[in-house]
Symmetry: D2
Subunit: 258 residues, 4 copies
């Protein structure tokens, strides 16, 4: 049997400290609730840890990342406080094979923007809209085990135009009471890493206690698990007929000249 | 009739200064030859200018970019010398609607990496391989007017795995004498901008004098031309029922809280 | 200047004859109203004709199709009455380069099913839902000139899961008062033909009088116009080094054996 | 642990009977060799059976299909002899969830054409070209465990333009000695079924004895395995607010009218 997938849930953990109403919904922090949901679904198929922004290096040292298969990211109020060094480190790990789940307001995190190359902006409103999450890719592993649609009684509205690259796979489209729609479940392959963006989930609503949302996140974790040994794609020179062994790049003008 | 498309060809212009054999092929600089090819094909449907790395601001001031519809980028030896400020400026313009053609070794330019979010590495060899450029999307406007395949007698080899996001549209696949293959013509939409990557073209070979290569580049320019008024996608709040007028974002915790 | 695009609007024309309330909305038939909308938008850039199911050969003879650039299809109650011979003829023309717009209930037409290879089923309800048509691909030519969202006050609901292949380009996603969502604007390239499916439009509602719907249909016509000479893709043998001239296929076992 | 995947390898089995040189390479029929390769790789994770064209119903009765998870299809010389009734039956099963692998010359089988909606033509030559199979999607499960490129010493050439819909995922691109390229590994989702087309493999060459080809086919089988209970997508009416239970369609004009 396959080894358990090593999951790290990263939480910004600011709303929980600053806002009483958030603390009521997520008394141990949102990251803890998200981690519980993954454990509940994957059981001994996963080893789930958590860390937060306020840890040294935001809890994302080289060693921690090397020992993580899938990183789950929730941030919102403090995207700007995430250090560029850490973002660069995570970026390199994702391109090398680290799986990444970006949740909800993580759409505006530095790491998601870096990977997408776009503004990742959208339209929004926090007025207790009902969100319906519709499956448009019913045979995708991430869509298994949930009804079509998933019904979330109260949620923040996220609407189009969502400025992302066209997803490799569009799995879910949400609608909201107000009539807006949103591409709420999207996969992207970048380098050797697999990325799943899933928008349901907000600090003001108990969305991470929702059974179907938990199932989707757990499915996403299993899907994003690396298929290959972690390795950054590298530019190499290959002699004619030498298909499987390349040479290091030595610069654009020196010999052998590219 | 539509106004002429305003094209700016950006050339690094270093090989031409440093290497005699390049100067022989491109006596007035590669950017000049590329610009000639576009003029030759589009005639009065285009206004084509050039600029180079050594100009102040690399010739890419805010005003110049605002007056450009499509930017064509050729760089190789000096990617690292392009200032981050200029890259950021070009990035914002592309997301706002500026069309961008990235040619050949521009795969490793800062601007392409920023837009793609990946390493953009590949395998390569400069040994005079013949390149055949095969059309796999025969009804795409960029593929019109060229034979299938385009035959380029001598070229640098670029091979897979090419670490880019899955293109929105794959138009050309190249093969090389040595047997390698490469996704050589790819489109990407990012924000309000359209991007066309086309790999044939190298300082050591007279590829930008090739009639079919010129046709493809000119087609790419016409395709990448902006459809909409230049405007950066922006995060806005929309009240229920207020579909067409949004409000500026005022931060994650202040009222109204996101 | 380019020659006018030759458009043929095909109407089933049954509801208009059988149902008084439809005749009130579309007194000259839905096909006539659709054709008017295209003429209104494209003016002298298009030559627009109409034909209907009850014509000999349903008005779709070999000659008529050969003289058409883009065929617009509206059918609903009588899909089964369309002869397989005519469907086969239209199919061959689309694969050879004829542009095709499939509107609304045409999702269940024989020709659309033949081209998609799937059931093309969906969920539906006709209860005067408001339909909002959201743009998710703002730089696509088909999305130009319409607000985001388009507001259609009353429409039949079409919802997911819509059993189609993943579209080459997803341009519009609709929501309905009841909360359903639908991929309402999709492009597909098949053979040498371009296909645009656009779902707004129903016999019970005056949708083809809606200005934005008319704009989208006209944009679709211009987009679907053939880029290449009409020719069916054909299996050919090519000798080594003979890239541009192939030989007819002579069967799987005879010499030269495949 | 998951139940073994039930695989059925369908062989046309004509070349083996008619041509001595094919019988030498595949003495028990190509289907037997293909089946052996899958058993070798998946061991007790698969139950692999074979059947052929000459069986009653071509060995593809309703019951056999109902007891199959993944169907592997090899045909070439006798596509026309496959009965339309059986093709229709397989088509319905694929849309309901049956996994399908189409190998090599199966590109021109009735079932592949029915699912794709295009001509599925290509360019070809049988002159012992070397085929190199390059991975362009290194994190896809189907690409695991094989070198990049796979080297096949002698093969029939299949080249572009290959008239298929744009694949949902492009995994492999092949090149041939003569310089042609081909999209040789492609996935498609249709209805509830997953389809993998893989072109290496021909009756004149021992390709199905090749270790890497066997790995890819076995990977494909595991990938194509159904995720959901077999069920044909069906058009249903849903009342407002009734998201999870639909009503049978009762026709276009009767009440309730669509």
């Amino acid at each position: 049997m396959a080894a358990p997938v090593r999951v790290l849930v990263w939480g910004e953990n600011r709303h929980e400290q600053l806002e009483e109403h958030v603390r009521k919904i997520y008394p141990d922090g949102m990251h803890t609730t998200i981690a519980e949901g993954i454990r509940e679904r994957l059981d001994d198929r996963a080893e789930v840890r958590t860390t937060t922004l306020d840890e040294p290096d935001h809890g994302l040292t080289e060693q921690v990342l090397a020992e993580t298969d899938v990183l789950v990211w929730w941030g919102h109020a403090a995207h700007g406080e995430v250090s560029d060094t850490v973002v660069e480190r995570v970026h390199q790990h994702v391109l090398s094979g680290l799986g990444l789940l970006v949740l909800h307001s993580g759409h505006w995190s530095k790491i998601f923007g870096r990977l997408m190359g776009t503004t990742c902006t959208l339209r929004w409103r926090s007025e207790q809209d009902r969100e319906l999450v519709w499956t448009v890719n019913p045979t995708h592993p991430i869509a298994q085990g949930v009804p079509n649609p998933i019904i979330i009684d109260a949620q923040e509205m996220y609407g189009e135009f969502f400025d992302i690259p066209v997803p490799d796979e569009l799995i879910f489209i949400s609608s909201f009471t107000g009539g807006e729609v949103f591409r709420s479940g999207c996969t992207f392959r970048r380098g050797h890493g697999k990325i799943f963006f899933f928008s349901p989930g907000d600090q003001d609503y108990p969305v991470y206690h929702h059974r179907d949302v938990r199932t989707v996140i757990a499915n996403g974790v299993e899907w994003a698990r690396p298929e290959v040994e972690r390795e950054l794609p590298t530019l190499l020179r290959y002699e004619t007929g030498e298909f499987h062994r390349g040479h290091d790049y030595t610069g654009p003008i020196q010999e052998p000249a590219e």
